[in-house]
Amino acid sequence: MATRHDTAAPPEKEGGAAPGRPAGTDTADAEHRRRARLSRRWQRDMRWSPYAFVSPFFLLFVAFGLFPLIYTAWASLHTVELTAPTDMEWAGLRNYTRIFDDEFFWNAARNTLTIGIISTVPQLLMAMGLAHILNYRLRASTFYRVAMLAPYATSIAAASLVFVLLFGRDYGMINWVLHSVGFDNIDWQNDKWPSQIAVSTIIIWRWTGYNALIYLAAMQAIPNDLYESAALDGANRIRQFFHVTLPQLRPTILFTAVVSTIGASQVFGEPLLFDANKGASGGAEHQFQTLGLYLYEQGWVNQHLGRASAIAWTMFLILIVIGVVNYVISRRLRASS
């Protein structure tokens, strides 16, 4: 490209930094004009080229990000069916007001929250523990690291299929083990808490390794002398973990917490595939229907595009609130440290 900063001279002022030639001659004038023109071009180039370079992203964003967002907002104000998306009937805010007494929506919201908590908390704790162990000098440590990422690389569909079999009521392996130690068969599908725990297990299985690697990367960036001096002061490994590792990891922990929260509020694939009926109702009594699933059910199974759009926007607003809360907490934490 023409922007070579090293050769691009700053635009010269008329009669400034005198070139050693007599002013006023024709050649000098032409040369001057030429330079001025080039410099204008450089200026324009410098000014507008970056926009041209970033524009592909923004054009794509407008087409695939902004437009759907606006269209969804527009659709959410209408009664419109997926079978005839052009046939819109103005409904005002009815799709939103209806959400307030839509017990299925609030049930889904509650489930999303509980599944989010029972999946995210153990997942991050386990990831932290694993990362701490992997941070030691281990034989075949690369193998362990790759192995930890394997669940993340597995498709949810394949994983859920296996988990459905494991959690089977009559012929599942987990119940078989529980039975052999004297427990009754647990109906992982149809009882509320067992089903939510089962769904959370899939999420935990899938994401623990991923978070562990993030923690591990952050741990390896902690200067070794901190540990050395801690060891000199007589701190054992556990104390080192709590007094050196954890404080150093604070920004990373925050990051994973935010990302996991966002992920948890959008949980969709695991409960969808875990459902024995392969419907989107999240079990016979909607016991593990998440917001994502409810949105999908209204939009794609029942084909109520307007309602689904309103749910999508409500979820979006909830996510923004969560984001703001996260931001406030992280600022507080930073200020306190």
Binding site: A84, L165, G168, D170, K278, S281, W300, V301, Q303
Partner: protein, 455 residues
């Protein structure tokens, strides 16, 4: 730092010099570009193929694409190869989505945006009413296509795909005349008759008698076995034999007030409470395992179900099943083939499905795949009348199902039948097997259905 991330070193060690590396990159880019270009050119080639009509086959083959779901079996029955032999300038390519639940929403999306459609699209009977009501304008009127004879099909099958102003958007492939498949060995152990005539008499004419037979079965049944596979299977079987279930003839939702629906629900709930059906959902892994473990004695059984049973059973189950007439005739399943107007080869596709759904081909499909013909003309053909099935010993299944097909009522189907039925099953009777009272289960089911029907 960046350089280290690139697969630099590997390329160099295999390719030798940086120049070789450049060549590799260039080659990769070129092949990618060529691929893209090839994609474009084959596309335009198709278009010219259609504009010339592909009649004399000037070297350009016409590819007819089929959008299907599940196992429809045209390919397995060798029908594509046969047609391609008859029409050397035609090539048939199918694109199968495993489950209709995933296939149908995509089809609706494609129809509403008029893009991404195949030349032929299959439509399941559960969706046909909705497609007829909302999407008819997007499809060819097949009643006007040459070679299509309305009289080939069962009248009600033809009507299902026909709009009020007599536009027919789909040609029927198969139907699901329902019978009851039962395990002879389990019936014998429970002291019930095993001969199919006598078994049919046990419950002739009334689903209540069927449940009564279940009660008899339960008294002496082998441990761990159930009379029927699932509450969903039972309520579906009962409802399939009703003339009117969820919608009335003028298109109003009547499922909550229709006494037949409530009666079906209550009877199923009763069977569930008495432990005659196991808490299962059909076609799910746990249900598959129940078949494999020989845990239930009966299943409502259209011809295609024999294939499912065979697929899920252990080898030792072969010959232990038999087929009896159901309490009342009903239809379960069946599909249609339709031609979207926006397809590239509308004419060829129409000709092809006209051939594919003719009685002869439907008979062939039955012989291989067990999809029962929707064309009565096929019922007297040898491949139907002589049909036998490994699972049911020497039962003349072709004749039994042909008989069952004649007693199917003309049923009013509505656009959202599937939502209602799924609600009654998955959010209703299944709960009774979990110990909920039938009244509570009905409440949960209707609440779910109403919420799902409301726009």
């Amino acid at each position: 730092m960046r350089a280290r991330l690139l697969p630099h070193s590997r390329l160099r060690s295999s390719g030798g010099t940086p120049i070789a590396r450049k060549a590799v990159v260039l080659a990769a880019a070129a092949s990618l570009g060529a691929g893209l270009l090839a994609g474009c050119s084959s596309d335009s080639g198709d278009k010219t193929g259609s504009s010339t009509g592909g009649g004399d086959g000037g070297g350009a083959k016409v590819t007819i694409t089929m959008g299907l779901f599940g196992t429809m079996g045209f390919k397995e029955a060798g029908l594509y190869t046969e047609y391609e032999k008859l029409h050397p300038d035609i090539k048939i390519q199918e694109n199968v989505v495993e489950r209709n639940e995933n296939y149908y929403p995509a089809l609706v999306n494609h129809l509403t945006t008029n893009s991404g459609l195949m030349d032929v699209q299959a439509i399941e009977v559960g969706n046909i009413a909705e497609v007829v009501a909302t999407q008819a304008a997007k499809f060819e009127d097949l009643s006007k296509a040459s070679g299509v004879d309305k009289g080939n099909w069962l009248d009600w099958k033809w009507q299902q795909a026909t709009t009020k102003d007599d536009q027919t958007i789909g040609l029927g492939t198969d139907i699901g005349p329902m019978a009851i498949c039962y395990r002879k060995d389990l019936f014998e152990q429970a002291g019930l008759p095993t001969d199919r005539e006598e078994v049919g008499k046990l419950w002739a004419g009334d689903w209540n008698k069927f449940v009564t037979a279940g009660e008899t079965f339960k008294k002496k049944a082998p441990k761990g076995t159930y009379f029927m596979d699932s509450p969903g299977g039972l309520i579906n079987a009962i409802l399939s034999s009703e003339k009117e279930k969820f919608y009335d003839a003028s298109g109003n939702v009547i499922y909550k007030t229709n006494p037949a629906v409530k009666a079906a629900f209550d009877l199923t709930a009763k069977a569930a409470q008495e432990g005659l059906v196991q808490s299962q959902t059909q076609f799910q892994p746990a249900w598959d395992q129940t078949i494999a473990n020989n845990k239930f004695a009966t299943v409502a059984c259209p011809p295609w179900m024999l294939g499912t049973i065979k697929g899920k059973s252990q080898p030792d189950a072969a010959g232990k099943w038999d087929v009896a007439v159901p309490p009342k005739g009903g239809n379960w399943g069946g599909s249609f083939l339709a031609v979207p107007k926006s397809g590239k080869h509308v004419k060829e596709a129409t000709e092809f499905i006209t051939w594919l759904t003719a009685p002869e081909q439907q008979a062939k499909l039955f012989a291989v795949q067990g999809s029962f013909p929707s064309a009565p003309g096929a019922y007297t053909m040898p491949s139907v009348t002589d049909a036998k099935n490994e699972m049911t010993g020497d039962a003349p299944i072709g004749q039994i199902f042909a008989e069952a097909a004649k007693s199917i009522p003309v049923q009013t189907i509505g656009p959202k039948d599937q939502i209602v039925q799924q609600g009654l099953t998955d959010n209703g009777v299944i709960l009774v097997t979990k110990g909920k009272s039938p009244a509570d289960a009905w409440k949960t089911a209707t609440k779910t259905i109403d919420n799902n029907l409301e726009k």
